[in-house]
Every structure is written in C-alpha cells, then in structure tokens.
C-alpha cells in the first residue's frame, strides 16, 4: 500500500519539514503520495510534484482550506487515509494540531514525533524530554505518524515528476474560522532547518539587549535565532523562537547557547546539534556538560569579542 504524507505549505511554497517527512515515508515504502490541501495552492502543488521520491500529488483546492483549520482538513484526510498503510505529517504545530484529530476518527493511535523507522510497524520516539528513547510497535491497521524533522534528511526539492490528481469534497465544517495571524518576519534562515543557531537565555535581561547582542551575532554567522523558555516568557523573544521539549527541536551543525543554564527541557530541543558552544558566567551551569566548547565569562564582554574575532 502507498504512504500518504500531508504537506505543510502556505499555498505557494512547501515548508521544509515536509521534505524530511517525505524521507521518513520512503523508509516505509516506495509509493509516497503527497497531499497538498489549501486554497489557490496550485503553486504549492507544482513545487510538490518536483520533490524527489514523491510518486503522486493529491491536490485539494477549496475555499474552506485557505487556512489549515484542523476541523476542515480532518474529514478530507480521514477519507483519503483509508487507502493508505501510513499517514505522516511533520511534527510541527501544523502536524501536531491535525494528525491526532485524524487518528481519533480512524480509531487508531498516533505515534508522535518519531526519530527512526525500525520497520513498517515499529518506530523510535523520544519521551520524558528526550531522556528516554522508546521503541514502540503499533497494532493498528493504519499508522498515523508525526515525524521529528531533524531526525531525517530533507528530500531533494527537484528531480521528481509526480502526477497531480485533484481531490474534491472539502467543505467548511462550520466549527471554526481563521481570524488573524501575527507572523514573525525575518530574513534569517528558518529555525528548525538552520545550519547555525544562536540562542539567548534569561541572562540577556531585556528585549533590547537580546536584539542588540544576539541578533548581530546570528547575522554575522548567517544563523537563525533561538531562545530559552525563560527568555520567551520574559518577552525578550517571540514564542516561536523557543527551543526545547515544548518548543522547537533543532539539530544544526553549530548551536551557540548564550546565557542559558541548560535545563533538561532546553537540552531536549538542541542536544542533537553537531557542535554545541556555551557561553555562561557560571562554570557549573549544566549546559557545559553537553557543550563541545565552553567559555566561562560574562556574555556582555564575550559576545563583542566574538564579533571582533569573526570580522578578522
């Protein structure tokens, strides 16, 4: 049976987590279909069909799908799911919102945020803030899965030549409507997919200092900006910067933690980074236990020095 991946997109572009999800799907079977459900989303479908490894694109274009409201998307996905052995979506807020609703109506479990595929019914997933990796086996007929995107390579955005098939029948469930959104605008790379991430913690002390100290370093390195929960709670950084157990999971080539203590909830979101740098004035801070390179010192003097060194 074929595998269905639910694409995350903004009607024109496919979001990067979808590419990692396609790779996870390929470990389950070679016939991978991608559902692009939206409104006026032909451009997204066009991008979808070029993704390497996708054999068919299902295009559901309907006004009720202009915003990814779970109430409207679910009936469509539930209907399609019956022809598939597995249904996957990225473990982003999009996938986490949608797939449990789908799973419940199919009367199957959802397998959350898998990091490895052992076989068609057996998967590895982190629990307890990533302190434990559980290998779980599903006995359900349809496996509904969200995928931790950092655990799988991104599929190539070109090279594929999938056929596009229209799917009709999407309707407004009449339960919910979109009101507004406030998206963080930035020219920096996307946090979850960036090669370098610079994160700031409570030690930054204010939104102004966060901006003045963390952002220039990120820009110098071409990095995305992240934050600890404490920094987000205090309003130094927007909520979508939060890295951790209950925020975003990142695994860049280089993660720079500035003024972050290294609570397990934060480590859960970044400890799979290739190289970790920690800058903290407390030499006992737990972040140093996972850092490859540590500087014990005041960030407000270390960061300017770092900027100078990087400019040389």
């Amino acid at each position: 049976m074929a595998i269905l991946v639910i694409a995350e997109h903004d009607n024109s572009q496919i979001k990067s987590g979808t590419l990692n999800t396609v790779t996870a799907a390929q470990k389950l079977g070679s016939d991978v279909h991608l559902l692009v459900a939206g409104a006026g989303c032909a451009a997204a479908a066009d991008a979808a069909k070029q993704i390497a490894g996708v054999s068919k694109v299902l295009l559901a274009d309907a006004a009720a799908l202009a915003h990814p409201l779970a109430e409207n998307l679910t009936p469509l996905v539930v209907d399609l799911a019956k022809q598939y052995s597995h249904v996957l979506a990225p473990a982003t807020t999009f996938g986490k919102n949608l797939l449990p609703r789908v799973a419940a109506l199919l009367d199957v479990a959802q397998i959350s945020e898998i990091t490895a595929v052992e076989s068609a019914d057996t998967f590895v997933r982190p629990v307890y803030a990533g302190n434990v990796m559980a290998t779980v086996q599903s006995s359900d007929a349809i496996k509904v899965i969200t995928v931790r995107t950092t655990a799988f390579e991104a599929a190539a955005v070109s090279g594929g030549a999938a056929a596009v098939e229209a799917v009709s029948g999407a309707a407004d469930a009449g339960l919910s409507s979109f009101v507004s959104q406030e998206l963080t605008v930035s020219d920096r790379p996307e946090l979850a997919a960036a090669k370098i991430v610079v994160s700031g913690g409570r030690a930054l002390g204010s939104a102004e200092q966060f901006k003045a100290v963390i952002e220039p370093l990120a820009d110098k390195l071409g990095a995305a900006v992240g934050a600890s929960r404490a920094a987000v709670d205090a309003g130094y950084a927007p909520n979508d910067y939060q890295v951790g157990q209950t925020g975003k999971v990142v695994a860049p080539q280089l993660y720079v933690a500035v003024g972050i203590s290294g609570a397990i909830q934060h480590l859960a979101g970044m400890k799979d980074s290739k190289v970790i740098v920690a800058i903290n004035k407390d030499e006992e801070a737990p972040i140093f236990q996972v850092a490859d390179y540590g500087i014990v010192g005041d960030l407000f003097s270390v960061l300017p020095e770092l900027m100078t060194e990087l400019s040389k």
Binding site: T92, L98, A109, Q110, P238, V275, E305, L310
Partner: protein, 249 residues
C-alpha cells in the same frame, strides 16, 4: 457555563528519569509525582474564567491509578469545584484517555474542555485534539490567549511562525501553551478546604470504554550521551577551534 479540566499525574518536571536495567520501562518507583505543568495552566485558566464571572462550575477529571486523587485535590485547591476520578491500573494511552474524557463530557455537558497541550512524560501532544475529534467539536490547541464571546471563543495559538487567532463555536476543546497564564500557588487554607470538595469515582468499565493500548513499548533506552568538551579561554580561541577543529565555520 461549565468547564471541564483534564489533569494528569506525571513524574515531576525536575526529576531526571532512569531506564530500568532490563530496558523494559522507565523506573518511576519512588520518584516525585506532580500535576502535569500544562494542566496547572489549564486549571488556572478555568479558575480565572470563573473569577471573571464567565464560568459557573469547574470540574476536574483525572484518569489512572488511585494516587490521581492527589492531583485532583491539587486542582480542587486551585479552585475547581468538584472532581471526577476515572480509576484504573491499566496503562492509558492518549486515544483511551480521549475516549474516557469524551464520555465524561457527554455526561457533564460543559461548554469548554481544557487540557494541557502535552503531558511531559509521554510527550504525546494528542489527547486534546483526539477528544475534540471524538466529540465533533472545534479545537483550540497551544492556546496563549482565550477570549470568550457569545456562543464562541477566540483563541490565540502559539504556532511555528508566530501567533494565530481562530474563532471556535462552543462547545470547544482547548489545550494550553506555556504563555496562557501563570498558575497560582495554592495556599494552605485552600488545601484544607479542598479536602471537603466532592470527588466522585468512576471507571473505564462504567463509562463503557475499552482502554486496551494500541502501541506496545518493545524497549526503552537512554539516548547516546554527549560528553562535556573543553573550556576555551576566550573568543579568539573559540573561533580558531570552530574553524580548524570542528570545521563548522
């Protein structure tokens, strides 16, 4: 308006759990247990709705072993009016919890069901969405702001790109994110008063729900450990190491 709040008893967030020697499960014997932090936020939100004159009654529900009573007493001390304990020693997975919660919701007919977005033990992030699905209700997940209207509720959600606001018709299911509110500390007199509040018992069998797990845990293991690296003296040394040793710059 009645509000139903789901509270789960979990290993306290400060505890670093260990895997049993045979790799069969996590060792939770004798570790500190607490209310799931997101569920404290859920109870707090319900209490604030009541304090604002918008909710009339708050019912806290917990599913699981006998000691869930303690979690329910905490919810009562925070301001819930009564509690329902669905008692069972069986392993409960999110789908089973959602089915139980649906049955409770059908009986209690609340306008809002509030859950945490995620239990910090299984990190599943499913139960609220599943409950909404089974009830056929709207869902407002990862809520950071809740504004009740007439027959509807506006929910601001923490999404990957920032914030999104949706309007849901009532009744609806909400799941809480960290920034929704800051839960209060419970005061001793409230703990005492909570002991007198009603706590009813029911069971999966009473509610007619088959809770058989769908996922079998074959094994658990600790992830590969990172070892502490080196301390460098200054920024110059750091940049040199990142360039020449780690080769990430």
């Amino acid at each position: 308006m009645k509000v139903l709040v789901a509270v789960k008893r979990v290993v306290d967030y400060n505890v670093k759990v260990r895997v049993k020697a045979d790799g069969s499960d996590v060792d939770v014997a004798n570790v500190k247990m607490s209310m799931n932090p997101f569920d404290e936020i859920a109870v707090e939100e319900a209490v604030r709705l009541k304090e604002a004159g918008k909710a009339t009654e708050i019912v806290a529900v917990s599913m699981g072993v006998k000691q869930c009573e303690e979690t329910l007493r905490t919810a009562l001390a925070m301001g819930a009016d009564r509690a329902i304990h669905v008692e069972t020693d069986a392993e409960l997975q999110p789908l089973a919890v959602a089915k139980l919660l649906k049955q409770v919701a059908v009986k209690e007919a609340p306008q809002l069901v509030i859950l945490g977005k995620q239990a910090i033990d299984d990190d599943a992030n499913q139960t609220g969405q599943m409950t909404a699905a089974l009830l056929g209700w709207a869902q407002g997940t990862f809520a950071s702001k809740v504004e009740l209207g007439d027959g509807s509720v506006n929910v601001t959600r923490e999404v990957d790109g920032g914030l999104e606001t949706v309007k849901l018709s009532l009744p609806a299911v909400l799941t809480t994110d960290l920034r929704l509110n800051e839960p209060r500390y419970v005061k001793l007199p409230n703990i005492m008063a909570a002991k007198k509040k009603p706590l009813d018992k029911t069971s999966p069998a009473d509610l007619g729900v088959d809770v058989t797990p769908r996922l079998k845990t074959l094994k658990v293991a600790e992830p590969a450990k990172r070892s502490a690296g080196v301390k460098v003296a200054n920024a110059a040394e750091l940049v040199a190491k990142l360039k020449n040793e780690a080769k990430v710059l």
